[in-house]
Amino acid sequence: MAGAHRNMTRGYADELRLFGTPLARFGLVAMIAVFLLLPTILQDDFWLSVLIYVGITAIGALGLNLLTGYCGQISLGHAFFIGAGAYVTARIGGDLGLPLPVWLLAAGVVGAVLGGLIGPFALRLRGHYLAIVTLGLIFIGEHLWRNLTPITGGNSGTSVNAQPAIGPIDFGGLTLLGESYSRNQGWFWLVWALVALVALLAKNLVRTRPGRALQAVRDRDQAAEVIGVRAGRYKIGAFMLSSAIASVAGALFGSYQQFVSPDEWNLLLSIQYIAIVIVGGLGTIFGSVLGAIFVGALPALIDRYSDAIPGVRTSVGGEGFVSVFALNQALFGLLIVLFLVLEPRGLAGIWLRIKAYFKAWPFSY
């Protein structure tokens, strides 16, 4: 008799493996290879910076997906927590000059505390009410950022001097085996390693008890309470975790961009993250990353190739009827509507369908 089929599982241990099949293991090796080699092959600063922003966005989107996709809480306030993370980094990483792990953790802790403050609202309010309270968070946040001048620099913004360095290893200017790498190359490795770390954390969270509890709360919170899930505790927990991750993303964003201003944490940023989790697929971990690649790269690409797109105005008062900013905004809107109407499961759903088709090939239906 031939050996076991490659997809066969023989017990719980097999079931639980993240990369159980040969194909999945091949995929893992391929991803690691791309991760390690891409910056050395693709040295162009523009493309590397696009990929770095995509990675940072992916981290933030993972946070939002835990909250919205897994716990079912609508938040329009994601941009608020991202901003908070950036400002914490400016003060702790920049002014105090503390190393990378410290300012990343500090941003995460502050994010978690702020998220915990939203918790009481999440317990009392559901669905629509929560969406609008978190919308208020954006505006209240913007007011705070503009007026807490000692922390945020007020309207004119603040520079973020946080160095991406742990001891002698400085991702801003890596030197490895006598070879030195550019700032963007170092940042690529740093950001995408963190994406992998956060994705792994999130994946392990959602396939264990807390994750199942979150999904039970999402599907029917009262029924979840009846079977012994503390819905209130998990809702607050989801808010804290999601905003902690958002703040970490904000910390990276601030430190990479080296300058942040209050105009960046607006409703459009929150909507961009929502577009990402919808396009990627609600309630999927790799969907968040897929969505971030797809949606997160759009603004940069449109900005770069705006000359080639007909009707787009590249400068104030220039030719064309729609500005780059307006085009981005319209595209996010269109993507959200189209995906929700035509493909509610997002890119992840499309991918799973393709995979299921070939898994049973040639007996697929």
Binding site: A131, G136, R146, G333, V337, L340
Partner: protein, 298 residues
């Protein structure tokens, strides 16, 4: 005292605008269970259509107001027909996001057609004022308050006494029972979107006739009308009007006393007063002032 009354008057005028927009939210929410984030987009669209009618086509202002309400109503009903009807039965999250998507499509569309420039709508009011009791009343503000009162009255009469109003109340209460009685839910949905869009357009053109003029950011007023709706209770038209007036008064009073009382809170703190007020009220009454408590079943 004069300052206080003057601020109250400004608050009533602003609150009337909020009330109109919030009433639109409530109409849609009550009959279809959807929160319409695109209300701001419809408001801006209505205001710009009014500008086109009044300035480019040079029709009388009253006719322009009527025309812009009608055309906005058509846009609202069309959007309901094309997109939202496919979403019936989907979770609220998906539907909210659809309307946000529409908002983000409408805004750039408006700037693409009408541009970013500051525009002034031809209107009979301009900055004329009337003085009485030692106070100065803007003619436009008086019209805003009067028109809002008239519209709100008509609205309540319509819901109370017309058969379509009755059909809408029944559908909001129990769609299936309404269907069993031979009420066309489709017609009710389309009509509620049309009414909401017309209310938004009216609020938009009234705003645009004011001293602020017409800019693409005019739709932002609708975001501040959310607290008005939430404050009053999402499913209560009377609550929407009440909430709108409260929010408007609070905002105008904060702005009026900014220098004297609120300088510690930073510039323009009046902008976030609606949200702060909403949060406080929600902590005390999670379903708003006049909203019905949600019954939750397992």
């Amino acid at each position: 005292m004069t300052t206080f009354l003057q601020n109250c008057f400004a608050g009533l005028s602003l609150g009337s605008t909020y009330a109109l927009v919030a009433l639109g939210f409530v109409v849609i929410y009550k009959s279809t269970g959807v929160i319409n984030f695109a209300q701001g987009g419809l408001l801006a669209l209505g205001a710009y259509l009014g500008y086109t009618f009044s300035n480019n086509l040079a029709v009388a202002f009253a006719v322009a107001v009527l025309l812009c309400c009608v055309s906005a109503a058509l846009v609202g009903a069309t959007f309901e027909r094309i997109v939202l009807r496919r979403m019936v039965g989907q979770p609220p999250f998906a539907v909210i996001m659809i309307t946000i998507g529409l908002l983000f499509v409408l805004e750039p569309l408006i700037t693409a057609i009408w541009g970013f420039e500051h525009k002034q709508v031809n209107n009979p009011w301009n900055i004329r004022t009337v003085e009485a009791f030692g106070l100065v009343f803007g003619v436009r503000d008086l019209w805003t308050i009067g028109l809002t009162a008239a519209v709100v009255l008509a609205f309540f009469l319509f819901f109370r006494f017309s058969s379509l109003g009755l059909a809408m109340r029944v559908t909001a209460f129990d769609p299936e029972a309404a269907l069993a009685q031979g009420i066309s839910a489709r017609r009710v949905y389309a009509v509620s979107w049309a009414i909401a869009a017309a209310l938004a357009a009216l609020a938009g053109i009234l705003m645009a006739a004011g001293p602020g003029g017409l800019t693409p950011s005019i739709g932002f007023i609708a975001l501040a009308a959310f607290p008005a709706m939430i404050l009053g209770g999402m499913d209560s038209p009377a609550g929407a009007v009440l909430g709108g007036l409260i929010i408007g008064l609070a905002e105008a009073l904060t702005r009026g006393y900014q220098d004297r009382l609120f300088s510690w809170a930073g510039d323009n703190v009046s902008v976030i007063v609606p949200y702060l007020l909403m949060i406080v009220i929600l902590l005390i009454r999670p379903y708003g002032l006049l909203g019905t408590r949600e019954v939750r079943r397992i």
